[in-house]
């Protein structure tokens, strides 16, 4: 079971790395290089497809998880979603009061924060269910 889970995690990790690299690569290329609009759109579509593939694989992996893992993932996503909404709401309201620097708070910089929120949620949820890797035999 643990080997199957490790294999599954490895595959999801590969798709996550592919998406991350395509996102960072596109970000770098679109920001620093003078790329024609058509090429920019192609880069964006590639990044979106990489993300869609990663999410699809993540979603599929749920079917191979046990009930504790499913609950942990669900709670991690709920925490991440709530924190993400909180951040967007705060920035949206603040933007009406003070002028936020778009170079600091652009949507593209919020993506890593959402990923961080997910891992924060995962950490909290794993602790809650005592879902660690230590042996307790």
């Amino acid at each position: 079971m643990d080997n199957q889970k490790k294999h599954l995690n490895d595959r999801i990790l590969i798709y996550a790395v592919i998406w991350s690299l395509s996102y960072v690569g596109s970000l770098f290329a679109l920001k620093t290089l003078e790329i024609p609009t058509e090429a920019g759109i192609v880069l964006t579509v590639i990044t979106v497809l990489a993300f869609a593939l990663f999410i699809y694989k993540y979603y599929r992996s749920i079917f191979f998880m046990d009930e504790v893992q499913i609950k942990i993932q669900m709670e991690a996503v709920v925490i991440a979603f709530s924190l993400g909404l909180l951040l967007l709401m705060t920035l949206g309201l603040l933007d009406l009061v003070i002028t936020l620097n778009k170079n600091d708070w652009s949507y593209r910089y919020l993506v890593p924060l959402f990923v961080a929120f997910y891992f924060f949620g995962l950490f909290i949820s794993k602790r809650k269910y005592n879902f660690d890797d230590e042996k307790h035999d």
């Binding site: 079971m1 643990d2 889970k5 046990d66 009930e67 504790v68 893992q69 609950k71 809650k128 269910y129 005592n130 879902f131 660690d132 890797d133 042996k135 307790h136 035999d137």
Partner: protein, 66 residues
């Protein structure tokens, strides 16, 4: 909810990993259930009872707080 999984495991001389393998979950899931952090589904509880050769009521008992 309290449980006697650790006792039942000791009777059968199973490790967490062996029990996990028999009921089709991860070892960490068995640890979560055994330490009372997670209440398993009816199906999983019945699988455990079958592996231990006992009933669900013997393995899981309600507490006053439940």
């Amino acid at each position: 909810m309290k449980n006697t999984i650790k006792i039942e495991r000791a009777k059968k001389n199973f490790t967490q990993a062996e029990l996990a393998d028999k009921i089709g979950v991860s070892r960490q899931a068995v640890n979560s259930i055994e330490t009372g952090k997670f209440v398993p589904s009816t199906v999983l509880a019945l699988k455990m009872a079958k592996v231990f050769g006992t009933t669900v009521e013997v393995i899981f008992q309600l507490e006053n707080s439940d």
